[in-house]
Symmetry: C2
Subunit: 119 residues, 2 copies
């Protein structure tokens, strides 16, 4: 199956996880396409000054791949500046947040996979 760019589902998240402003997920996979391995695979665009607030992942991991822009990532309590090519990994039980600290959009790939190694 091929999903052309113009046909992909565009979402809006307002104050995601008590974050600032509105961010825009463009869906890569959804529903049964995950075959039980995960629940989120999106490209998310953060306009300037927007963020996803600090939150914990339990029973799953979340990976961000930074495609463009500049952000500040909270890595389970430690602030780390991030930019294109950087990868962040929130392990099962850890917490994270990310905010756009640049003048342009921050664009990331976000993937949530279930932890199949624990009951």
């Amino acid at each position: 199956m091929v999903k052309k760019a113009a046909d992909r589902k565009q979402l809006e998240l307002v104050n995601a996880q008590q974050g600032q402003g509105t961010v825009y997920p463009l869906v890569v996979l959804e529903g049964d396409e995950f075959t039980g391995a995960g629940r989120l695979f999106n490209v998310i665009t953060f306009p300037p000054k927007t963020s996803i607030g600090y939150h914990q992942h339990v029973g799953e991991t979340e990976t961000y791949l930074i495609l463009s822009g500049e952000g500040m990532y909270n890595d389970n309590g430690t602030l780390v500046p991030v930019q294109a090519g950087d990868v962040t990994y929130c392990a099962n039980g850890e917490s994270h947040s990310i905010e756009n600290t640049g003048d342009g959009d921050l664009v990331i790939v976000a993937v949530i996979l279930f932890d199949k190694t624990k009951a």
Copy 2:
């Protein structure tokens, strides 16, 4: 955990799946980071005229997210041109290939997830 861009593992695949030339995966996740949910999450750069050959996925799915460039995707027997923003999905049991048909690099995100819905 944050992996800075310069510290990510760079691989080379020569004639991948009997494809043409050398393609360059830059690792996003590896090993235990998948927590049993999958086995590949890379950004792959295809120089002009390179490809990954036609191959089948059994017990797993593979998703390509096209980041830049122009390619030809073989979707289980049907050729589909792809470009930035397009998403391809190879379901469990299906086959696919992708080649760079443009003048510049073709860059994609590739993710292989296990099919947890079947024995």
